[in-house]
């Protein structure tokens, strides 16, 4: 009964917010920012969640684990399918360099900052090293990359294609790096840290994750060939492999997103045309899958983030504003071309990637209750990631609106065209 209630609420809302009318909102800049970022879905989830209206209770959420796993598996596969062996050659070197630089700096800087805040604001100091490391690197992984959506930041009449290409390309590579980083964080967090053979267990699990991904990736390719053109058999293979990859990984205590990413990467590098349809269906369903994850994130989030959470949000937002600009400054300038210095497109890297919400939701949802994150509660952690994303999304958009208004004031007849 409970699983049905939970599933129906989430599926219905996901359908509504991914419907045609909702989709048409994307034509406006604010609509693009809200719908692509999924903030409306997050808001609905928050309203339904145990912390606001209580329509969906915490224990009902746990019954949604298989659905969340499926969505994470889907997202992982979608990201992994980009990892073709020729990707480094296909992308300009500057894109890969930017993505790698961003990933490296983000993980180190944001993890260190999160760790510092949690350390400074904690009243107790008898906690273990791994307890700190549970939250900090997760926030570091969430900080990698930026939102690929640039429609809302585009200036009418400007030819900003090279910069758009760079930002979108680096965002895609950043998603892969974020999922890999998240896989390591997830695996570390799920381990029994009291055990003597932690390193051995970590290695065995890692090998198993790769083995599952390899076997299932190859098997999916083979099964796709068997399924041929039949829609029904194609669906069997798609649904079966996504759930098996994600579920198998989670049973072993490893990130379903990471294992699916590896599976997707295996698939992306297989020969033949059978994957064209697979890729198309995976990408077609992106919107409802993302909306399910956003709704779940909203339901999980606890608005009462407390002192530690509030400070974390401020620190991470400021860090994002400063460091993303520093990291991307050189490359953006090199690709800016005709883009003006005050173009909002230059501020695109400040916006958090939507993948961050999926990473945090998966982490909070699949964390065993006994290992509940200390000092920053699971719901608060989710809220921190949401708030950072929301504020960082709003700043470039608000600045673009302000600039536009100022220009119109200065030149009421001609506009900025």
């Amino acid at each position: 009964m409970r699983i049905l209630i939970g599933l129906i609420i989430v599926v219905t809302l996901a359908l509504v917010v991914s419907g045609r009318q909702w989709w048409s909102l994307r034509r406006t800049p604010i609509g693009a920012a809200l719908t692509t970022g999924g903030w409306l879905a997050v808001a609905i989830g928050l309203l339904l969640g145990p912390h606001v209206s209580g329509v969906v209770q915490r224990d009902q959420l746990l019954t949604l684990q298989p659905l969340v796993l499926f969505c994470l598996g889907w997202v992982g596969l979608m990201v992994g399918l980009q990892a073709h062996r020729r990707l480094p050659q296909m992308l300009p070197g500057s894109t890969s360099r930017l993505a790698l630089l961003d990933a490296g700096v983000s993980v180190v800087v944001f993890s260190a900052m999160a760790l510092g805040v949690i350390w400074l604001l904690s009243d107790e100091f008898n906690w273990q090293w791994y307890e700190q490391l549970m939250v900090a690197p997760l926030l570091g992984a969430c900080a990698i990359g930026w939102a690929p959506e640039v429609r809302s930041l585009r200036q009418v009449g400007t030819a900003d294609t090279p910069l758009r290409g760079l930002l979108r390309g680096a965002s895609g590579v950043g998603s892969i790096l974020a999922a890999v980083c998240y896989g390591l964080v997830f695996a570390g967090a799920q381990l029994d840290h009291g055990a003597d053979n932690v390193v051995v267990l970590l290695l065995i699990g890692g090998v198993m994750s790769v083995a599952i991904a390899l076997v299932l990736g190859l098997m999916t390719w083979w099964l796709m060939r068997i399924a041929g053109r039949s829609d029904a058999e194609f669906l069997v293979v798609l649904l079966g492999t996504v759930t098996l990859m994600a579920g198998g990984a989670a049973v072993l205590g490893y990130s379903p997103l990471f294992v699916s990413l590896l599976g997707g990467a295996v698939l992306a590098n297989m020969p033949g045309e059978v994957l064209t349809r697979f890729r198309r269906v995976i990408i077609d369903a992106e919107q409802p899958i993302a909306m399910v994850l956003m709704l779940v994130a909203g339901i999980l989030a606890d608005p009462m983030i407390g002192q530690t959470g509030a400070v974390l949000v401020v620190v991470l937002v400021v860090a994002r504003m400063v460091f993303k600009r520093l990291i991307t400054h050189r490359q953006v300038n090199a690709h800016a071309g005709p883009v003006q210095l005050n173009s909002p497109l230059r501020r695109a890297p400040m916006r958090q990637s939507p993948l961050a919400i999926a990473l945090a939701a998966g982490y909070v949802m699949l964390m065993p209750p006994t290992d509940a994150v200390r000092y920053v509660d699971a719901g608060q952690l989710m809220m921190v990631v949401i708030l950072v994303g929301l504020i960082c999304d709003a700043v470039p958009w608000l600045s673009s609106v302000a600039i536009k208004a100022l220009r119109e004031d200065a030149n009421p007849a001609g506009g900025d065209a």
Partner: protein, 445 residues
């Protein structure tokens, strides 16, 4: 050979993950296990179905066998807890989807002209099976437990007889869909099954209420239950019709993400079906199967063209859901009950099959119409699955403190197991012999 290797590899992978998770002490949570089980069951069932298809056996038998193999009886990759609880949604989803498909297959104009004939066939078959299997069960109960009171034995025998009269709408729809069959046997089998299912809702509720009143002195029999059953039946059809209209509206006006919409609708129907409410002091709930049937019927008959894309999606989604549903049903099979009472179960199976043959043959003659080529129609009514298992659970739930109920339950479980495993083979044979296989693509419905 390649399919066999693939199947074995998948099973091996499932076992490996299971063992490594135990060995490494990975945190056990039902959600991940459920997801893994769903993936494993769907893929293995599909491959096993293909394997059996190559040796001219129904794919459904492959799905069932995979469930049996991976389930708690054999390899235990799927645990009893999962089968009973976490994978229950597969049944809810499948029942609604199957009924939607069935509703979409019914042409109201044809049904209006045939309703009397179909009711006669269904009625005669149910009565014959009920009397013969009920009689045989009474004899078995008397032989195995001479101390059992006569009234109790009669009540239990009547209930066993009624459950024996049920057949599986899921298997009928899945077999017709799998073989893309169209023709008199497919059409009559589907329609009679639906008529029987509607009758079963009323008769079983009535018989259970009367039976409980007879064997349990503390339970007073109330005539108000008839009103409640009526509300249940009519309410299910009306609510289902409203669902159908709303679904047709979505398909026409929004029309996006139809597979997800389909799954959501089936889950919603299942949820409404699970909610109990009170009518004249009696606890009733709407029948998910009838609601979905009515929804499919309304969509197909009132908006046939506009809802066409939806039924295409239903068709495409059927295979993964059938694979999961029948594999879970296979995992549920209590093989021990079959082994323990093999002799008595064997007797009941023989009696039921003879009764189904006699009932259908008699019904076809009494019902009139063209009976040519329908000599093997009875084989469509042999398979039993989810409906019968649900009725057994109801008997166990309502009469668990009555002596002799365990024996009756074991007999039923054993009988259903045999008919579930062997029934589809017979039905496939009937479809093949009648030449109806593959006719659906030619537009015959």
């Amino acid at each position: 050979m390649i399919i066999t290797i693939g199947l074995l590899l998948l099973i091996l992978l499932g076992l490996c993950i299971d063992q490594v998770a135990i060995w490494t002490g990975a945190p056990l949570s039902p959600g991940p296990r459920t997801a893994m089980s769903v993936g494993l069951l769907v893929l293995c069932a599909w491959l096993a179905g293909m394997l059996l298809d190559r040796i001219r056996l129904p794919r459904i038998s492959g799905y069932l066998l995979v469930g049996l193999l991976l389930g708690p009886v054999a390899l235990a990759v799927i645990t009893q807890n999962q089968v009973d609880d976490h994978l229950k949604f597969a049944g809810d989803l499948a029942i609604a989807l199957i009924a939607l498909t069935a509703g979409g297959e019914i042409d109201l104009k044809w049904l209006r002209t045939q309703i009397v004939r179909l009711s006669v066939i269904a009625g005669v078959e149910m009565i014959v099976v009920w009397i013969l299997v009920g009689g045989a069960t009474y004899g078995i109960l008397q032989v195995t437990d001479s101390a059992l009171p006569t009234t109790t034995a009669i009540v239990l025998a009547a209930l066993v007889g009624l459950v024996a009269a049920s057949n599986s709408p899921a298997v009928v729809i899945a077999m017709i869909s799998e073989h893309r069959a169209a023709g008199p046997i497919s059409r009559t089998a589907l329609s009679v099954t639906i008529v029987k299912d509607m009758a079963m809702v009323v008769l079983f509720a009535a018989m259970l209420a009367i039976g409980k009143g007879m064997v349990d002195p503390e339970t007073k029999f109330s005539g108000m239950f008839l009103l409640a059953v009526g509300v249940q039946l009519v309410g299910s059809l009306v609510v289902g019709g409203v669902f159908g209209a709303l679904m047709a509206w979505y398909v026409q006006k929004i029309g996006r993400h139809l597979p997800i919409f389909l799954v959501g609708s089936c889950l919603l129907i299942a949820l409404v079906g699970e909610r109990a409410f009170s009518v004249a002091g009696e606890k009733v709930h709407l029948e998910a199967l009838l609601m979905a049937l009515s929804a499919g019927l309304v969509m197909r008959n009132l908006w046939p063209v506009k809802t066409e894309p939806f039924f295409h999606v239903v068709e495409a989604m059927s295979l993964p859901i059938y694979c999961l549903f029948f594999a879970v049903t296979g995992a549920k099979l209590d093989v021990q009950a079959l082994i323990d009472g093999a002799m008595w179960v064997g007797i009941l199976v023989v009696v039921r099959n003879a009764a189904v043959w006699g009932g259908i043959t008699g019904g076809l003659k009494l019902g009139g119409g063209d009976t040519q080529g329908q000599g093997k129609l009875w084989l469509a009514f042999v398979p039993q699955a989810g409906v019968a298992l649900a009725l057994i659970l109801l008997i166990d739930h309502k009469l668990h403190d009555i002596p002799g109920v365990d024996m009756a339950k074991n007999l039923l479980v054993g009988m259903v197991a045999v008919h579930l495993l062997l029934g589809p083979i017979g039905f496939r044979y009937a479809l093949m012999q009648s030449g109806e296989v593959g006719k659906q693509s030619q537009g015959e419905k």
